[in-house]
């Protein structure tokens, strides 16, 4: 099969970089124009395997030259739908890079391609085998594509005519993605790909919740489930909405029960404290509850310092993951900050009190205006006391919770310790078991009471050669 192309195709060429001195021709890129576009088309309007080139072919391009390029693929099939276009389109990048001597960077109307001198030497003279290879790979990877046809354009005027149309498609797609929420669909997708390492983990992927690893969104899940409904990505009937704010659905709960062999039976998609989503271990960010301020802090993998609770990313991350439901810590992908349902079950952004500045800058656009300046970062806040003051000073919405709490817990406090931890609110928000080493109560260890016999020794010398410590049966 591979012999029919004048080049090798393999994932091993994916990382291949073609530098200027080994470049025969550059296509599109920052100094030219171009785009790639996949369109779902009616079966009757697609001629399977057909390739059309408008403009000069590779053989007509002089060494060292630059041309614009547009790559349009029309796909058709019983299961093909507009929502899947972007999924197929993204593969163009991956697959073109499989071709030895062919480099594809970026996507959509930012594409930037180079063809190497070596590839030309080995007999690559036309775009036709490139397009044919890509079409073959599309069909191999996504067999719901029954027919595919490619049109490549290297003529500047022709591309200029088409590019606005392409941009309009991108825009419509983005709006669709942005406007699509959990409540707009009947089907979520489950992903068990990482069960190969995290055997008990199940990711639930919804329009408002990208997979934890960040690699699979709802559209990816949809495409994969169409390819193989019994594969590792599968449809979940979302069932009945049980709790809108925390995102609890009967269909998701059923799945949780089934796939965890009954280990847990509820998953709230957008909750931090109650039945949170499990995580495998790939998470980019871990959230941690700060009981002293009743808020949530977030720390990302790249942050090497310690959070206000005195812990590092790796220490907190070590508490969660492995497909277990752990309360008090939550692993997420950076993209989940961008979800409109971001921990909606627990007050969303109003509950967020701290994150490293680098992380904050990365997602600044997604933070609601009214709390943007009220979230502390490592730049100025590194301990609980100053965090408290900062939040008070900035009137962070979380302080409203403090007042309520003071009233609620006043009786208890009279009984136990006075003052000090006025805002300290122990287990109340934390219905499930806390992980060990998490609560600050650790610090209070030591003064354990003992009762029973009192032995008085005088003038004695006790030598113990061996003490055997055993669990009390």
């Amino acid at each position: 099969m591979a012999d029919e192309f004048p080049f090798e195709i393999s994932p091993m060429f994916e990382g291949e970089r073609i530098r200027k001195d080994n470049m025969h021709v550059e296509l599109a890129g920052p100094k030219s124009i171009g785009f790639e576009l996949v369109r779902a088309t009616d079966m009757k309007d697609v001629e399977d395997g057909k390739f059309t080139l408008i403009g000069p072919d590779l053989s007509e391009m002089a060494e060292g030259s630059r041309y614009p390029v547009a790559m349009i693929y029309k796909i058709a099939g019983e299961l093909v739908e507009t929502d899947l276009e972007s999924i197929v389109e993204r593969r163009n990048h991956e697959f073109q890079n499989y071709i030895q001597g062919f480099m594809h960077l970026n996507q959509r109307d930012d594409v930037w391609l180079r063809v190497s001198k070596d590839a030309i030497k080995k007999g690559l003279t036309s775009f036709e085998p490139v397009a044919k290879a890509i079409m073959m790979l599309f069909k191999n990877e996504l067999p719901f594509i029954e027919k595919v046809e490619a049109v490549y354009i290297t003529d500047q005027a022709e591309i200029e005519k088409e590019i606005d149309n392409a941009r309009a498609v991108y825009k419509a797609r983005d709006e669709r993605t942005k406007g699509l929420h959990d409540e707009d669909v009947d089907t979520f997708y489950g992903c068990t790909l990482c069960a190969s390492f995290a055997p008990t983990n199940v990711c639930v992927i919804t329009p408002d919740r990208i997979s934890l690893c960040g690699a699979i969104n709802w559209f990816d899940g949809r495409a994969a489930a169409k390819v193989d409904p019994e594969g590792p990505q599968f449809a979940i009937e979302k069932g009945e909405l049980l709790d809108a704010s925390s995102g609890e659905y009967s269909g998701v709960n059923d799945l949780a029960k089934r796939l965890s062999s009954g280990e847990y039976d509820r998953i709230k998609l957008h909750s931090f404290f109650e039945y949170p989503h499990t995580s495998c271990g790939c998470f980019e960010v871990v959230g941690f509850y700060i009981p002293e301020v009743d808020g949530i802090g977030w720390v990302d993998r790249d942050f090497a310092g310690t959070a206000p609770n005195g812990l590092q990313f790796s220490t907190m991350a070590g508490q969660t993951g492995g497909g277990k439901q752990v309360v008090g810590f939550l692993g997420i992908g950076v993209n989940y900050f961008r979800s409109p349902k971001f921990i909606s079950g627990d007050g969303g952004w109003d509950r967020v009190v701290w994150m490293p500045n680098m992380l904050k800058q990365k997602i600044l656009d997604s933070i609601p205006e009214d709390v943007k300046d009220k979230i502390a970062t490592d730049e100025n806040i590194n301990d609980i006391e100053s965090l408290k003051n900062f939040l008070k000073e900035k009137e962070h919405p979380v302080i409203k919770r403090w007042v309520v709490e003071e009233e609620e817990t006043i009786e208890e406090e009279e009984e136990s310790q006075p003052s000090e931890a006025q805002y300290y609110q122990p287990m109340q928000y934390v219905p499930q078991q806390m992980p060990a080493g998490f609560m600050p109560s650790m610090a209070m260890m030591g003064g354990s009471g003992s009762g029973g016999v009192k032995i008085i020794l005088k003038n004695a010398k006790v030598t113990v050669d061996k003490i055997i410590v055993k669990k009390i049966e």
């Binding site: 068990t192 070590g318 004695a460």
Partner: protein
């Protein structure tokens, strides 16, 4: 009760009462309980604790011995000929004796690392105190091997002592079984060897954790600096101080002295073997640059000495040639031994004054000295080098022949072949002699790269030609070009890195992890390592290096003059090239696999060896390769990997221990595990196909690596990419489709995407599989089905009770 500690106590309330507690049994469990950690079933396992696990491994991967020698010479009841199923005077048979020989190698290797670990730990505790914290980078699991094996979660140097106590005790128990009249079963000897291998990784881990924490070595640092490597990077116009060995403790005093006395630029500090690696790690954790240069691995020792460039030689321990002192004497290079393991019969000068020692050595009164006091060593070594350089220069000391002499020497060769006969690599020395006579020295240049400088050729030459010197002289041009770069050892792989890489491992972007370890002496010289590493890196494998092979890889450059260390980034990510560090850093390679289990599956690590090994064996596609020779240490490292379910491939030289652990892919019964969800049996692919085997050529090696990264739990994306590389590498290097590729196909999505249709056709035509061509789906044929949620395990107790 939780506050009980060992020691002497006087209590305030008690008059004149002194309590002494010597030992607390169950302290590890109690400590774990205090810290909220669940203790697994086998903290500090004894020889029999993991025997069931070993037997499971050994029933699938059966030992194969092809002994060179049929005799046992262990005691004077014999010698005994064990050939032809005969038993020895003690009753031992051939298999058991072979396994015993191997056990001895393993514990010798493990003891070398553990001895090193104890020495450096003892030294560092004396210097920094037992409460000095272990600091190895941003990780939750500081000591994965230690915690998994012993159940101890060390936080300070002092905690590590208890770990060493355990390792040493177990090694003694193992050594005892070598004695006549002990074990009689070959499988139990094998199980003991695995125990020794496991201990080795703990001992190595202790060594490296201690030195990383105290010596400012890179802490899980992907940006660890590049160090210079190669004989060509030494400026021999300066005084040259050469260090050989594996234990950097004493050398750091030399480095400190040099810095304090502003000698860094005035002399060359160069190293051979792992001490060299650790010298370049010393004090580079906070952006410091390496202050020493690396000559290379063991194979360069004699070459470097014979070059006559060193003005002083310091040796510490392990992999140091036994004839360093004799060789050095001839060239008037004083030798200082610094470690009890190597003393060369030299007088102990540890209590003498620096001036006196320098006087005695520089005058030639003594050929060397034993100095066990590091402060003294720190001063003597650099001062002596500064003093020796002009003296040796004035004496005009050289060892290599002149151009004229070279001509005469090569012309005197009578082509008798004695040299080639003793050469471990059977190198074409006679040919090179003939060519040199005709004025072509390129053959000698090639010999130089392949020659491991063992020096066995010299004494056998009937014409008295100093053959090694001839090779080195003829290769002077090549040697001057020998300048490479090696990334300084970075230490552990941090938890955050593993989390980041998780996506790649799951999505198949990373087809596997290749650890290239072991010693020099590759069939085609250093280029072999380069070719394999480069090929696998291009294919997005994570390539992990350590010790000698980490050095040798840095010796080879591409057309652009770049080494692979300069070409590939050094994170724990797909397509990255990592140097963990010296020999003892090998523990971080297994440590990483253990961390994967802790991080992604939240498995309890503590004292839970079997479960973690089971996880690694079924899920983590890692393969070790020891392409060169294979010291006892290398064999214990490999055996430690084996017990964790990580397969190892050795090259033609490593095969000389003549033992393999090989599975039988055709025996279906061997390839079944339980599904932990319900305890039912499930078939698995025959991969890893072996725990220890041999490859003869790199062409054979590369597809083997790809294939043995396949694991039962692969999802379709992972399997697809692994199969892609297996098939491609086989076609590229062996010229044909591998004959068993179809056995790893469960569904059509396992097939390499670039050739799906072609392979479906073959499945239909040659293997009779049914294909639905419209949907390009496999209808029937595969013997296994894809179920990523299945939980393969070899350990019945880890299964949930069957529902039905």
């Amino acid at each position: 009760m939780s506050k009980i500690t060992t020691g002497k106590f006087s209590l305030e309330d008690l008059e004149n009462v002194q309590i002494t507690i010597n030992n607390i049994v169950g302290a590890i469990e109690t400590k774990a309980e205090e810290e909220g950690v669940e203790m697994g079933p086998t903290p500090k396992p004894g020889i029999s604790s993991l025997r069931n696990w070993d037997y499971k491994l050994l029933s699938r991967y059966q030992p194969v011995y092809t002994p060179v020698c049929d005799q046992c010479c262990y005691c004077t009841f014999g010698k005994c000929d064990l050939g032809g199923n005969k038993e020895g005077a003690c009753g031992i048979n051939m298999e058991a004796h072979q396994a015993r020989e191997f056990l001895l190698r393993v514990i010798t290797g493990a003891a070398a690392h553990a001895g090193h670990g104890r020495h450096i730990l003892h030294h560092l505790i004396e210097k920094h105190g037992g409460d000095h914290p272990i600091n190895v980078g941003p990780s939750n699991l500081l000591a994965p091997n230690t915690q998994m094996v012993t159940g101890i979660m060390p936080k300070t140097l002092g905690d590590l002592e208890k770990v060493m106590d355990y390792v040493e005790e177990q090694l003694t128990q193992l050594l005892a079984t070598i004695h006549v009249g002990q074990e009689g079963s070959s499988l139990d000897f094998e199980s003991k060897a695995m125990h020794g291998g496991m201990l080795d990784h703990v001992g190595m881990e202790v060594s490296d954790l201690a030195q990383i924490s105290c010596m400012g070595m890179p802490k899980s640092d992907p940006e660890a600096p590049l160090a210079e490597i190669g004989m060509g990077c030494i400026d021999s116009t300066k005084p040259v101080l050469l260090v050989i060995g594996h234990n950097v403790a004493g050398v750091t005093y030399i480095m400190d002295y040099m810095r304090e006395h502003d000698l860094d630029d005035k002399m060359e500090l160069a190293g051979l073997c792992c001490t060299a690696i650790d010298m370049t790690r010393y004090q580079t954790d906070k952006g410091g640059q390496p202050r020493a240069k690396i000559i290379g691995a063991l194979a360069k020792e004699l070459k470097m000495i014979r070059s006559a460039a060193p003005d002083v030689i310091i040796v510490d321990e392990q992999c140091v040639r036994a004839d360093v002192l004799d060789e050095a004497k001839r060239l008037f290079i004083p030798v200082i031994t610094t470690n009890e393991k190597i003393m060369y019969g030299l007088p102990d000068r540890s209590k003498d004054s620096a001036d006196k020692i320098i006087e005695d050595l520089s005058s030639g009164k003594e050929a060397g000295a034993l100095i066990l006091d590091f402060d003294l060593l720190g001063e003597v070594a650099p001062r002596l080098a500064m003093k020796m350089a002009p003296i040796r220069e004035a004496k005009g000391i050289k060892s290599l022949p002149s151009d004229e002499e070279l001509k005469t020497l090569t012309a005197s060769c009578v082509q008798c072949g004695a040299c080639e006969l003793v050469c471990p690599n059977n190198l074409p020395i006679m040919n090179a002699m003939t060519a040199a006579v005709a004025g072509d020295i390129t053959k000698f240049e090639k010999l130089h790269d392949h020659c491991i400088a063992c020096g066995r050729c010299d004494p056998v030459c009937p014409k008295g030609i100093p053959i090694l010197n001839v090779i080195e002289k003829a290769a002077q041009r090549a040697i001057r070009e020998e300048k490479g770069k090696m990334r300084a050892g970075r230490g552990q792989i941090s938890d955050p890195e593993i989390r980041e890489e998780g996506v790649n491992l799951v999505m198949g972007t990373t087809p596997g992890i290749l650890a290239m370890v072991g010693c020099s002496n590759y069939p085609e010289g250093t280029k072999d390592l380069y070719t394999v590493a480069n090929e696998m890196l291009q294919r997005n494998y994570i390539v992990v290096m350590s010790g000698c092979s980490a050095m040798d890889l840095g010796m080879y450059k591409d057309e652009e003059g770049k080494t692979l260390y300069e070409k590939y980034p050094a994170k724990f990510l797909a397509g990255n090239l990592i140097n963990v560090g010296s020999c003892v850093s090998n523990a971080h390679i297994t440590g990483t696999a253990i961390k994967v289990a802790a991080i992604f599956a939240q498995r309890n690590i503590t004292g839970n060896y079997e479960e973690i090994a089971d996880y690694i064996m079924n899920r983590i596609g890692a393969v070790g390769v020891a392409w060169g020779a294979y010291s006892q240490k290398a064999s214990s490292i490999a055996t430690g990997c084996n017990r964790l379910g990580i397969p190892v491939i050795v090259g033609p030289h490593g095969s000389k221990y003549r033992r393999a652990l090989i599975g039988k892919p055709y025996n279906e019964e061997d390839w079944k595990v339980y599904d932990a969800r319900n305890g039912e049996e499930m078939p698995i692919p025959s991969s890893p196909e072996f725990l220890l085997t041999t490859a003869e050529t790199i062409e054979e090696l590369m597809p083997m690596i790809a294939k043995n990264c396949i694991r039962p739990s692969d999802n379709n994306m992972g399997r697809m990419i692994k199969l892609t590389h297996y098939i491609e590498l086989s076609q590229k290097y062996l010229g044909h489709l591998p004959e068993d590729w179809y056995k790893f196909v469960r569904v059509e999505t396992d097939l390499p995407i670039t050739r799906r249709e072609e392979l479906l056709k073959i499945l239909e035509k040659e293997h009779g599989w049914e294909i639905d061509w419209k949907r390009k789906k496999i209808i029937s044929g595969p013997t296994m089905k894809l179920d990523v949620s299945a939980q393969p395990t070899n350990v019945k107790r880890l299964c949930k009770e069957s529902v039905c």
